[in-house]
């Protein structure tokens, strides 16, 4: 295969009518999804993984030109995250959670962790009960949660091991609250190489 043929076999992308909106609404609520999508066009690129984006009108003008040439972008606009066939159906990106929390004015479906808990999390470790200083509902078992520092910055995404914020009270300090799915330490560990896959979930 020539390098040019390789370039042409980019994954196919399309404007999404429902799926991104539905997944955001399922996780964060219908009105919250509408607020996030305001003025943006949902866009999906499929390939080995199915990646979701929100793009503005100007970004779409560039995409239209690319698509008219029979090519597809590598990525575009706001990276919403990865769409999956099994639960969790959407792994949101750190940037999307940052964007969403900014639009809504508060975090949802998130855990705020202490500095001492954030350090091991940024090395790929899980969030333990001892390091959780605040829980932001709704929380569901085996569903995604944003992981924030005390500075309100989103540092990663976890997979909740608890079914509600109330359940935290019954846990021991060393019990896991959320498994590490993605943390921004990945930008150093695997962001430029193939040493570590992006999301620690199969499929």
């Amino acid at each position: 295969m020539s390098p040019e043929e390789g370039l042409r076999k980019s994954p196919k992308c399309w404007r999404d009518q429902q799926r991104i909106r539905r997944e955001i609404a399922r996780l964060f609520g219908k009105s919250q999804a509408e607020a996030a999508l305001q003025g943006k066009v949902p866009y999906i690129c499929g390939g080995r993984f199915m990646e979701a984006y929100l793009v503005s009108g100007d970004v779409l003008r560039i995409i239209d030109k690319i698509e008219a040439s029979g090519r597809y972008p590598y990525s575009a606009g706001i990276y919403v995250g990865r769409l999956r066939r099994r639960k969790p159906a959407l792994i949101p990106s750190v940037d999307f959670l940052t964007y969403l929390y900014s639009v809504l004015g508060r975090p949802l479906r998130a855990l705020t962790v202490s500095e001492s808990g954030l350090k091991p999390f940024l090395y790929g470790n899980d969030v333990l009960k001892a390091s959780v200083i605040r829980c932001h509902p709704p929380i569901d078992e085996d569903e995604v949660v944003g992981v924030l520092g005390r500075d309100k910055v989103v540092y990663g995404v976890g997979l909740s091991k608890i079914a509600s914020c109330r359940e935290l009270r019954s846990l021991k300090p060393t019990d896991p609250v959320a498994l590490n799915v993605f943390d921004v330490g990945w930008y150093v560990r695997g962001g430029t190489t193939l040493k570590e896959r992006k999301f620690k979930l199969q499929g």
């Binding site: 503005s56 030109k65 040439s69 575009a76 962001g191």
Partner: protein
């Protein structure tokens, strides 16, 4: 039409005589001898050439750019860095840019602040200049044709307030990964990333962009202090090959620019073969582009118009250069063009 400047250059360099003084300096500092002969010609003497070689032996100070897409007040970042023991001085010519005076034993590429995209880290100051010179605004459609790893794309997105649109293209698969990683980390939301040979872009984007940045792939003859392997990596034939590719890339950049739009050509090289000769060659080939004077944010030298007996057009003087021994940065070249 005047003869090809690249052809003239090829004739000169193919029969380049390496003098004794070049051999001595090349041996002392570990360079290919032909490079030294060129430095003597370019800088006017052996003493000046040795000053350049000495400056390539000195490490550069790290620089960083506060990312206002993630940080609402850069003073907060200054305080966070201070708490980590990192000492920074704000640059007088860029109010979001800092020179790192003391790193406090901290790995600047692994702090929580870095990982959260609060700053972008640079090896030297020169790469901060191109986005400031091109100065894209919020409504612009802009292209960066050799965008990885993303320092200039993320800087332009910041200047544009994440509005408008940026096409960020690169051909290399591994470098695309780094580009995407940096774009996500820095919270850039107005960019479209495309893996493609930039020479194919004019067929997609004919006359489309208001501003195009081409930080061309080059020999890196300005960043030898960062990558000493470059002292011996590029022979004469490869240097000439870079020049021919750069002319093709710059022609693509011009094709993609709308009438009245701006093209900024830059390299991290002090080699006239990749700088003024590329500009002169494109001016010779086309009638729809002209050099623009611009006021650089810091003092910079003028473009070279005489080299090994070849005279380049006078307007090439409007291009600008950074020399490590004079400006204390990596070696760098900028030239602003306007599509007419």
């Amino acid at each position: 039409m005047k003869g090809s400047y690249l052809k003239m250059l090829e004739n000169v360099l193919s029969s380049l005589e390496v003098r004794e003084n070049s051999l001595k300096l090349a041996h002392r500092y570990g360079y290919l001898p032909y490079m030294i002969t060129r430095y003597i010609e370019m800088l006017g003497g052996e003493k000046e050439a040795e000053e350049l070689l000495k400056s390539f032996e000195k490490p550069l100070k790290h620089h960083l750019r506060c990312n206002t897409l993630k940080v609402s007040d850069c003073r907060d970042l200054e305080e966070r860095l201070e708490r980590l023991g990192i000492q920074v001085d704000k640059l007088p010519w860029c109010d979001i840019c800092y020179r790192v005076r003391g790193e406090g034993g901290v790995n600047l590429g692994a702090t929580h602040e870095f990982l959260a995209g609060m700053y972008y880290l640079y090896r030297g100051a020169a790469s901060l200049i191109p986005p400031i010179v091109l100065s894209p605004g919020p409504g612009d459609l802009v292209a960066d044709l050799a965008a990885a790893p993303g320092g200039k794309v993320t800087h332009m997105a910041q200047l544009m307030g994440n509005e408008g649109g940026i096409l960020a293209s690169d051909i290399n698969r591994e470098r695309m990964r780094a580009l995407r990683s940096n774009v996500e980390r820095m919270g850039v939301r107005n960019a479209v990333l495309l893996r493609i040979d930039a020479r194919r872009l004019p067929s997609i984007f004919q006359g489309f962009f208001a501003k195009v940045l081409l930080d061309a792939p080059c020999s890196g003859e300005g960043i030898i202090m960062i990558d000493p392997g470059r002292k011996k990596r590029t022979g004469i034939q490869n240097l000439l090959k870079f020049g021919r590719m750069q002319v093709e890339l710059l022609n693509s950049a011009v094709e993609m620019t709308a009438e009245g739009g701006l093209i900024l050509y830059t390299t991290c090289s002090i080699a006239p073969e990749e700088d003024e000769f590329v500009i002169a060659e494109v001016l010779r080939m086309r009638e729809d582009v002209e050099i623009q004077e611009f006021e650089p944010p810091i003092s910079m030298s003028r473009g070279i118009t005489h080299y090994f007996g070849i005279d380049l057009p006078e307007e090439v003087k409007a291009c600008r250069r950074l020399y490590p021994p004079i400006h204390g940065t990596e070696g760098f070249f900028l030239c602003l063009l306007k599509k007419v």
